[in-house]
């Protein structure tokens, strides 16, 4: 690494210091983009000598466009722990172990995150190790094939959950061409064939693991100026060259889809109703209002939840999930129903609630309470460096930074009762709908 330092000329200045007088985000932060496109966000905060270091690759299972390669972004996340020529896997593990870092990674539909939390005096070591593996990953075929076995093991571990089965079915049914058709784990048939994808894995690294597709978020007990200098030296020679995959847009859905799935074990029946929504965009009033609609109509203080969960006790779970995604995710309502014979009634109650929200304005008091809740829920989540960096990761993946947080919370404050009506009318309509019912074996 040292030999590289002299060859790289970097002009990095701290131009991005943001003062946070009236902001939702409580910590002042600094941001920079290196000449090769690598973005760096530094969030100094009080913490007992701890630092959280997130490398966010803006590639996830959404980017698995080639046939037979579903689940590869997640598999590749595993391969990133297989070492380099300079630091083979055993050496990488040994260094990370010797500094007592807590290190792991995860993959989602839209991004992959590698994260470490460690003592502040080990920052230089971590930057050295992380910059090396992101630039110089190197592994042999046997290690690649062994790791494929661990990934299949992860699939098997998850596969006993009825929700895993249900999610597979819902996504497969709802999408025709877009890569949201498969889960992040991937189709089982593709997971089985992963050991054969050695050459493909090399191209995956070349295309996606590039500085112009990665954002570093570093939070905790840090000196931003010194941190940036270290990063500049370590990552400066990493060559840009991200090539965005051509993800096929999903054509508009024209009519409702329905499916059933049978779970081998015993479970209460689960009903999932998904509506094709919009991608994350705080400038899209309908999208922002839909996020609030989910909580207002199906959250724990909604009339429907009180009726079905507390009073009539017909459901064990009722919730809505309006996710933040790059493309058009499903806006989902999920109900775990206690008796199979109540499934239809619960479904009708959900539709009835949507119909009511499409015409009846929500009270100002409810909206105000919800805005307050959103704000404090966010503030309370930021109580350790790892939670701060992890908490902003998806915003970073979707937009490249965290300035958007201000836009999101300002947008929540602007949502009116009419906006909620509009969102309910736009998204929660039969032609955007996919319904899947999961039932367990009778035992």
């Amino acid at each position: 690494m040292r030999s590289r330092v002299g060859k790289v000329c970097l002009i990095v200045t701290l131009t991005g210091c943001i003062a946070m007088a009236q902001s939702i985000f409580p910590y002042p932060y600094e941001k920079e983009t290196l000449p090769n496109g690598l973005r760096v966000i530094m969030i100094p905060m009080e913490s007992p000598g701890l630092v959280a270091y997130y490398s966010i690759v803006r590639t996830g299972s959404r980017d698995e466009v080639e046939q037979g390669r579903s689940g590869f972004a997640h598999f590749f996340e595993h391969m990133m722990f297989r070492g380099t020529k300079k630091y083979p896997a055993s050496v990488y593990d040994s260094v990370i172990t010797s500094i007592g870092a807590s290190a792991n990674a995860y993959t989602t539909d839209d991004y992959t995150a590698y994260h470490l939390t460690f003592a502040k005096e080990d920052l230089a070591t971590v930057i050295e190790m992380e910059s090396d593996r992101f630039q110089n990953l190197s592994y042999e075929k046997p290690a690649f094939q062994t790791e494929a076995g661990a990934v299949y093991g992860e699939y098997r571990k998850n596969s006993t959950s009825p929700f895993a089965l249900l999610n597979e079915k819902v996504q497969d049914l709802a999408y025709d061409v877009h890569t949201y058709k498969h889960t992040t784990m991937g189709f089982e048939a593709d997971i089985k064939e992963m050991p054969e994808g050695f050459e493909y894995s090399k191209s995956f690294f070349q295309r996606f693991y590039r500085p112009d597709n990665v954002v570093l978020v570093i939070a905790g007990d840090i000196d931003p100026k010194a941190t940036l200098a270290l990063i500049g030296r370590a990552y400066g020679s990493w060559e840009k060259g991200y090539r965005a995959p051509q993800v096929s847009p999903e054509p508009p859905q024209t009519r409702e889809r329905f499916g059933e799935v049978s779970y081998k074990g015993k479970t209460l029946p689960i009903l999932t109703i998904g509506y094709k929504g919009d991608g994350f965009d705080p400038g899209n009033r309908d999208y922002v209002a839909a996020v609030l609609f989910g909580e207002l109509a199906f959250g724990e203080t909604s009339d429907l939840c009180k009726k079905l969960y507390i009073k009539e006790q017909k459901v064990e779970i009722l919730q809505a999930n309006i996710p933040m995604n790059r493309d058009m995710p499903l806006f989902e309502i999920v109900a775990m129903v206690k008796k199979e014979e109540d499934l239809e009634e619960v479904r009708e109650e959900i539709y009835k609630t949507i119909t009511e929200f499409q015409s009846t304005p929500v009270s100002l008091e409810r909206l105000t309470d919800l805005r307050r809740r959103q704000k404090y829920r966010f503030l309370m989540s930021l109580d350790a460096p790892n939670r701060v960096a992890g908490g902003v990761a998806r915003f970073v993946a979707l937009t490249g930074g965290i300035d958007v947080l201000e836009d999101v919370y300002a947008a929540f404050d602007r949502v009116s009762a009419q906006d909620v009506i509009n969102a309910a009318r736009k998204y929660f309509v039969p032609e955007r709908r996919t319904v899947v019912i999961l039932k367990g074996a009778r035992q």
Partner: protein, 503 residues
Amino acid sequence: MKTTIVAVLLLSLMVCTATTYGGVPVPDDHVVQLPVRNDPTISFRIWFKVGSQNDPKGKEGLADITASMLTEAATKSNSYEKVLDRLFPLAAGYSATTSVEMTVITGRVHRDNLKEYLPLFTDAILRPAFRQDDLDRIKSQAASYLENTLRHSSDEELGKAVLYAEVFAGTPYSHITAGLVESVRSITLNDIEEFYRGHYTRDNVVIGIGGGYEADVLRRIREELGALPAGTPAPVPASVPKALEGFHVAIVEKDAPATAISMGFPIDVLRGAKDWYALAIANSWLGEHRNSSSHLYQVIREERGLNYGDYSYIENFPRGGMMTKPPQNVSRRQQIFEVWIRPVPNETRHFALRAALREVKRLIDEGMSEAEFSQTRSFLRKYVLHYAPTTMERLGYALDDQFYGINGSHLEIFRTMMDRLTLADVNAAIRKHLQYGKMQIAMVTKDANSMKQSLVSDAPSPITYRTPKSSRTLDLDTLISVFPLKIRPENVKVLQVKDLFVR
């Protein structure tokens, strides 16, 4: 704006000095404080010294359900719906966790919302309504967890539950906190009220408070909880498991795509003791939870790709699949040494079991090397920093310190001991507390009888791979595949999943 805040503060101070909140304050030695001036939130952990070990026979699950009747149900002032409505804008809540010996009601709120939150929080503890409709809902959830979720949706949790049930059979530790299907069904409001009266007393509570709180908040909660009735519940004798001879195996028959394995034996050492920290080093090397530094992980996952992970424990670690760091407030007087092998393909189950046991035996027979010792203690010295990065987690540890009678902080002692302990200390602790060959094994798998036959006949379990392996790995595989376990047929039982957690 500033003026308004000052005025509000003055007003609240005036009101507070004029108000008392009920009872004689909970005494000093029942209060654990963790002030963090710049923390904008306040964390509460209200610990009642009661757990599933206090469940009466035939009413297993009562401690857990009683706690839920406080935190997920109506109070005398508010219906449950109203409670949720009031908490909603505060983005705050409270919940209860019950383990074998502890019940802790946990709450956290931003200081801007404390004034509205605190009366709701104390109301839940002091004035539960105990309504039949709430009980029906909570019992139905507990029964569904036992009959559906635990039996069917996570074979790993199932395997662990069976392991603990077998090791602690016949003791108050034997059932899981959620109870048993039939006992949960039999629980009535009278049972709940009686249990609450007997265990939720001012003599049986410890108040944990942390974060950016003012003195008045502490005074208020001490006085309010001081209004709980007096009384000390009868102590429950420690759960002493029966001594094991040889390997015992419980195989749960299930149409499972992979085999979950857990195993362990009781150990007589608790945190706070020097030997515990020595064993912590050995255990971390063998199987640090969710960490690739784990030796078992290296052997079974990294080298052979058989599963997702392999870990070991010297303290109970519930919900290990969901958490990467140890939980707080699951303290207990009797611990087991435990090995967790995440699901492996059914055709490699015998091999994986042998591979794990062989490594455990090697550690016990040979101890740690200087290099392993040196690296592991260097790892742990800093890794324990990650156990409690938040105020809420540190407060949890502070309560556990009181449970174990630790003078000072376990986490600080942990770090100090990493400098003090020697390799000889660690290897002596291994020899003293760990033993090979007297162990309970739990497996969740398909064709349980064929598994039984393979085990009792010590049949070779060769393994084949789709991918090339090094000659070193293949040579070791040859040894592992015939590693003798010498399991006696009478020590193996096959259980049907539908018969588990019934009564």
